[in-house]
């Protein structure tokens, strides 16, 4: 099976690999695993507390090319978005952007779950902020 060129690009030049300080109050960390394949994905976001805009995002993924590409794309997309906008990102958006085949759809689900988990973690750390919609 040939990978889509966008997948290969993200795989070979992943954006935003690394980590943020998980103890910082401005950082939300989401770690999710795929029950189907054992892939694990960590996605972190840094949020400006006044504007609620995601100022930075990092990820680290152990998994297949599609999982890496999905999380790389997810970090690109969430940067500059507000929490609510980031929550609106659907796995199908990732599927479309990367032209993932049906067998790799769970990788995009994982990326969506990671965004949500990271935001949830941030909200948990900052209970005084409004709760998740």
């Amino acid at each position: 099976m040939a990978y889509n060129t966008k997948v290969i690009d993200h795989y070979e030049n992943p954006r935003n690999v690394g980590s943020l300080d998980k103890n910082s109050k401005a950082v939300g960390t989401g770690l999710v695993g795929a029950p189907e394949c054992g892939d694990v994905m960590k996605l972190q976001i840094e949020i400006d507390e006044k504007t609620r805009v995601i100022t930075d995002a990092k990820f680290k993924t152990f998994g297949c090319g599609s999982a890496i590409a999905s999380s790389s794309l997810a970090t690109e997309w969430v940067k500059g978005k507000t929490i609510d906008q980031a929550l609106a990102i659907k796995n199908t958006d990732i599927v479309n952007e990367l032209s993932l085949p049906p067998i790799k759809i769970h990788c995009s689900v994982l990326a969506e779950d990671a965004i949500k988990a990271a935001i949830q973690d941030y909200v948990k750390k900052n209970p005084e902020k409004e709760k998740l919609s």
């Binding site: 770690l31 999710v32 795929a34 029950p35 189907e36 054992g38 694990v40 680290k60 049906p102 759809i105």
Partner: protein, 237 residues
């Protein structure tokens, strides 16, 4: 979309069973497949289950010895070789029945396949394998294990040599979790078998716990495979 739940009385327990060709009253697990009077391999009946195929009750605690004995006995009687000079529709029916029987045997003798069958019979899962996994009611994977799995892989990348004992430790933890999960499944099966086979909330509650536990077991198994791969790649000295 989910399957309609199984009719609680399976085909073999429902009505007096008549030959699909000559109407002869059929009795016993062998006649269920092959009419003793007109020798017609029986058409597959609507709603026929793998349990019907062996004349065993719908439960987890199955006598696999009995099933195996019946499997060979039915196979001998139903084998397509016996129908080479029979009418064409008998040949076709013996073949479709034989292949149903083979699937039934493979399923009932395998504990995991049996659990999946039970879940699809009662509509907790749809036909196994057909439903894309992301549409299934998914249980979240255990976070602690995902976390230690992530950390282990970081360690292996950064320092393969010193990660060896950690890998062994992680493997032991996985094995332990699998054993616990299997024990839990066995306990749930016993609870299920004690209940009447009607679609009660209790029955469904047990089935969805079985579903959740199976998904977890599946997750542990896929990590185990990845651990094997890591060992081959990083520790191949």
């Amino acid at each position: 979309m989910q399957n309609a739940p199984v009719d609680v009385a399976t085909v073999s327990q429902r009505d007096p069973l008549l030959c699909t060709e000559c109407g002869h009253l059929l009795d016993g697990f062998l006649a269920f497949h092959l009419c003793p009077k007109c020798h017609s391999p029986q058409l597959l009946r609507e709603g026929e289950t793998y349990f019907d195929a062996f004349g065993v009750p719908v439960q987890f605690d199955l006598d696999r010895g009995v099933i195996e004995k019946r499997f060979y006995e039915i196979s001998r009687a139903l084998h397509p070789d016996r129908f080479v000079s029979a009418p064409a529709h008998h040949r076709a029916q013996s073949m479709s029945r034989m292949s149903f029987l083979n699937q039934a045997f493979q399923t009932l003798k395998n504990p995991t396949a049996l659990r999946e069958l039970m879940l699809s019979l009662y509509g907790v899962r749809t036909q196994m394998g057909i439903l894309p996994s992301h549409q299934q009611k998914k249980v979240p994977i255990p976070v602690e294990i995902a976390e230690s799995w992530f950390e282990l892989q970081e360690l292996v990348v950064e320092n393969p040599a010193s990660s060896r004992p950690k890998v062994a430790e992680f493997e032991a933890e996985l094995k332990n979790l699998r054993t616990q999960g299997e024990a839990h499944l066995k306990a749930l099966e016993t609870q299920f078998d004690r209940l009447p086979r009607e679609l009660s909330p209790e029955l469904l509650a047990i089935l969805s716990q079985i579903d959740a536990e199976l998904q977890k077991q599946n997750y542990f198994r896929s990590i185990e495979k990845d651990v094997e791969r890591i060992k081959r790649n990083a520790h191949s000295d």
